[in-house]
């Protein structure tokens, strides 16, 4: 198939309030949306969704797959672009795995203790999700 490159790729933009993490033409992206993963490829129907409090996102550009931990936010999918507004995000390669593990343990402990006083179970669960995402993203890199 002699397809033009533009119809095989889409522009992925991943931005957090503090910086732009990804701005690249990709062939595929897996997005951790609130109600489950969305696999986006070029030509996807327009879609808006919130993201999970913590999830692993992967995308493929030039045959290389990269992994990020994304901590909540929103995604807009258009036929030729994907725009992720993350509350916070980091590349798997940037995450210190020991620290992430320690965070996960602390979060697991905290969530097991719920319902405790003055702890919102939803917040504890979100933190657990974020910690898990960080560990998963860090592991996927190697």
């Amino acid at each position: 198939m002699a397809d033009t490159p533009s119809s095989q790729t889409m522009l992925l933009q991943l931005v957090s309030p503090e910086r732009v993490l990804v701005e690249e033409h990709v062939t595929e992206a897996q997005i951790p949306a609130l109600d489950g993963y969305i696999g986006a490829m070029p030509g996807h129907a327009p879609l808006l969704s919130a993201l999970k409090a913590g999830g692993v996102m992967t995308y493929t550009a030039n045959g290389q797959t990269k992994t990020l931990a994304v901590y909540g936010g929103f995604v807009e999918v258009l036929p030729d672009s994907v725009r992720v507004l993350a509350d916070a995000a980091e590349f798997g390669s940037e995450i210190n795995r020991e620290k992430a593990q320690a965070r996960l343990q602390a979060a697991t402990k905290a969530s097991e203790q719920t319902p405790a006083e003055n702890v919102d179970p939803q917040l504890a669960l979100d933190e657990l999700n974020r910690a898990q995402a960080a560990v998963d993203a860090a592991s996927a890199k190697s």
Partner: protein, 289 residues
């Protein structure tokens, strides 16, 4: 007439001051560059968010629960929350006094409303402490390196108040960084949400909504306020460093002027002393003849 040694001392003292102001200018220049980079890095997010908001507001308006949503309903403005961002330190010319003047104007414009303040930066805090003002919270020393977490912390209580109907409007006053020479005063209405017309016109794509638009709006609006606060902080930091750099540059060149004029005076005194001595020698010699 001050003596030669007095002039020397004064000149040395002014030179020391000049060295300090020069160093401060360099520090501000370096900090300004970093602050500018952060302002620029934060822009894409704000832009994408505005576009997404425009879409969501248009879509959420047709929801039958829209009339109950605090984010869409506009209340009569009887109580106003003001987030005021100033700098922690001075030495930046009229930077903070301009901000405070803008705040005073804002108070006059909203004289009928009950005002509650959220203060970021020491200068604004010190100003309002001396006055009868209702202060919700104070945030000092967050401007050294403002991050999203700080902004979220500052905005949290204000968002809750608006959502629970304890306040009817939220405004933000800060300085925007325009160029090194000019800081632009900015008074922004954050809530109720006012979308620029061209943003609303762009909202035409027919999206699949994974969650209902109203639910997403509920999630997005707090973010919107937090990001606006973060942007305000970043802009203010950049504008502050620019103002400080300009002020220190002026101070350095003033010091140079002072040194020049002192040196001139010193040389005159020196010359007068020499002339006097020559006259004494000459007249002494004439008397001896």
């Amino acid at each position: 007439m001050p003596s030669l040694i007095d002039f020397r001392r004064r000149i040395r003292s002014v030179k020391n001051t000049q060295q300090i102001t020069k160093a401060m200018k360099m520090v501000s220049a370096a900090k300004l560059r970093r602050a500018q980079e952060r302002v620029i890095a934060a822009r894409p997010y704000a832009k994408l968010m505005r576009e997404m908001l425009a879409n969501l507001v248009a879509a959420a308006a047709s929801d039958d629960r829209a009339a109950d949503s605090p984010w869409l309903v506009k209340r009569e403005v009887k109580r106003v929350d003001l987030i005021f961002i100033s700098s922690d330190t001075g030495l930046a010319g009229a930077f903070n006094s301009n901000l405070l003047k803008a705040a005073q104007r804002f108070h006059e414009e909203h004289a009928g409303a009950e005002m509650t303040l959220t203060l970021v930066g020491r200068k604004g805090r010190d100003f309002y402490r001396k006055r009868q003002a209702k202060i919700l919270s104070e945030h000092i020393n967050v401007l050294n390196r403002p991050g999203y977490q700080d902004a979220a912390e500052i905005a949290k209580e204000v968002i809750r108040r608006y959502k629970d109907g304890e306040t009817d409007a939220v405004y933000l006053i800060n300085n925007d960084f325009k160029s090194v020479m000019t800081a632009l005063l900015s008074v922004t209405q954050l809530l109720p949400l006012e979308l620029p017309k061209q943003d609303a016109a762009q909202a035409q794509t027919d999206y699949i909504y994974e969650q209902s638009p109203l639910d997403m709006l509920e999630r997005l609006m707090p973010r919107f306020v937090e990001v606006a606060v973060l942007r305000g902080m970043l802009e203010t930091v950049a504008a502050y460093q620019a103002a400080r750099m300009t002020a220190m540059d002026t101070a350095s060149s003033n010091a140079k002027d002072v040194i020049d004029s002192l040196t001139l005076h010193m040389n005159r005194v020196r010359q007068a002393a020499i002339t006097k001595e020559i006259i004494e020698v000459v007249s002494g010699a004439a008397a001896a003849e």
